[in-house]
């Protein structure tokens, strides 16, 4: 791969963006033939919110889907698969009638939505639009999924970083958490770091101390199962 590969530059930009949540959408424009991007959190884990949008139209596309309760981002997250609409005008299917009617004035030619997932957790979705009809190659889809996974991690860390329970600082609690981390990494086939984050996220979602979740994992009351990872879909 060339050093100035647009995808690598985009993933570098994402790693450098630190905790700037509002800047998470921009790197997608670096390597995809799209006009705008937005990132939103919703689903079972985090509250519905557009956290980053590259322009006002991208923001509106997100907002409309929340208001109407339908649209590509919902489908992407529910099915854990990208939704690809390379040519909205010639689209014959009848899903999202209200959403399509609402965006008619927005002059959108193509729309794509990629799920934001972390292990078993639903984080939200990336919405991408183009004014002119355009297709994403399988390689671009794969890259978008890879970047989406980075975004999921960043959002998750950000969401739970403000919520460290004082109990987690004791040595004994940490020991239990490390043991549970080992069990979860074996259950999900992830790195230790990701397994730790999953336990932390579960604690956050249930508003319980991490030690309790760890104890439940060790005593096999909680078990995480690997879900199939999303892959490039076929148009």
């Amino acid at each position: 791969m060339m050093a100035n590969d647009p995808f690598l530059m985009a993933s570098d930009a994402l790693s450098d963006s630190g905790a700037r949540i509002s800047e998470l959408a921009r790197p997608f424009l670096r390597f995809l033939p799209v006009s705008g991007a937005s990132i939103s959190t919703f689903g079972s884990f985090l509250g519905a919110e557009t956290i980053s949008a590259t322009d006002a139209r991208a923001g509106r596309v997100d907002e409309l889907q929340f208001d109407l309760g339908e649209g590509p981002c919902w489908d992407a997250l529910v099915n854990r698969q990208p939704v690809l609409e390379p040519d909205l005008a010639s689209r014959s299917s009848v899903s999202w009638p209200a959403f399509l009617a609402a965006i008619r004035e927005e002059q959108i030619g193509a729309i794509f939505a990629f799920p934001l997932l972390f292990g078993p957790l639903e984080i939200g979705a990336v919405d991408l639009y183009s004014i002119a009809p355009v297709s994403l190659t399988p390689e671009q889809q794969g890259q978008t999924l890879a970047l989406s996974a980075m975004v999921s991690r960043i959002i998750l860390r950000h969401a739970i970083s403000t919520d460290i329970h004082p109990d987690e600082t004791t040595t004994f609690s940490r020991r239990l958490i490390h043991q549970a981390t080992g069990m979860v990494l074996a259950q999900l086939g992830t790195s230790a770091e990701d397994a730790h984050l999953i336990i932390q996220a579960r604690a956050f979602a249930e508003n319980r101390p991490m030690r309790q979740i760890a104890q439940d994992v060790i005593e096999r009351r909680i078990r995480f199962t690997a879900l199939t990872e999303p892959g490039p879909s076929h148009e």
Partner: protein, 237 residues
């Protein structure tokens, strides 16, 4: 075990320590061997070692039982109990009857009693001015540890301490604190590895440690290395 056999075994244990020190070793493995030797040869039911971390707080680094209940007893001891006192005063603390110590260390004594522990003997891991942690011997019976065991335990603790401090002068690139911190950090990987084995072999956390320990021994490699390979899933037990 009759007295002659015990003395032979004790002699073997010292010989093994000496060999290890000469040949080079992993601090964690040395400490694990130390607690196991104490458990096998002395009149104690469980033993553990706590080392001071970078923040000068004591952490459990090796114990004869990896059951979380025993580790928790020792960790509470490290926060307020005979072993903290032993570390602070740099001298032996004997608690022949935990009922008598209850008023000083209520949380520790209650947790220990619940685990059937009734007397505790804590020895500082100390060489002249440097104290790196404590060796804790716990018994289910009340009463003082016998004099032979006290001498043997003290000698074992001293050999281990000298070994650790000696290794530092050989390497000397890192400070003692870094080195001890490394031993404590590899503990993290070992805890994770216990979880991996508990999950994949469907055994308890305690049994998982035994499997890891056995594998390290039979392959003559360190606990930390085995644990590392389990966590990265290059090895499966």
């Amino acid at each position: 075990m009759n007295e002659t056999t015990r003395l032979e075994l004790l002699f073997d244990a010292f010989a093994t320590f000496a060999d290890t020190l000469v040949a080079g070793y992993d601090v964690l493995d040395l400490l694990q061997t130390l607690v196991e030797t104490c458990h096998d040869l002395l009149d104690v039911d469980s033993a553990g070692i706590l080392l001071a971390n970078a923040a000068d707080k004591l952490e459990v680094v090796a114990s004869t039982s990896e059951a979380n209940t025993l580790v928790e007893v020792m960790q509470i001891d490290a926060d307020a109990g005979p072993c903290l006192e032993c570390f602070r005063t740099r001298s032996v603390v004997s608690l022949p009857d935990i009922d008598i110590g209850s008023s000083r260390w209520p949380a520790f004594c209650d947790t220990a009693r619940a685990q059937g522990i009734h007397s505790v003997y804590a020895i500082p891991l100390r060489l002249r001015d440097t104290t790196i942690g404590t060796l804790n011997l716990m018994r289910n019976e009340r009463g003082e540890l016998n004099q032979h065991d006290i001498r043997a335990a003290q000698a074992l603790a001293d050999v281990a301490t000298i070994g650790i401090l000696h290794e530092r002068t050989i390497r000397d690139a890192s400070t003692l604190r870094d080195q001890l911190q490394r031993a404590l950090s590899s503990r993290i990987i070992i805890e994770q590895a216990k979880g991996v084995v508990a999950e994949t072999a469907n055994v308890s956390i305690e049994a998982a440690f035994d499997l890891i320990r056995r594998h390290a021994r039979s392959h003559q490699t360190s606990l930390s290395l085995v644990a590392q390979r389990l966590v990265t899933r290059e090895l499966s037990l």
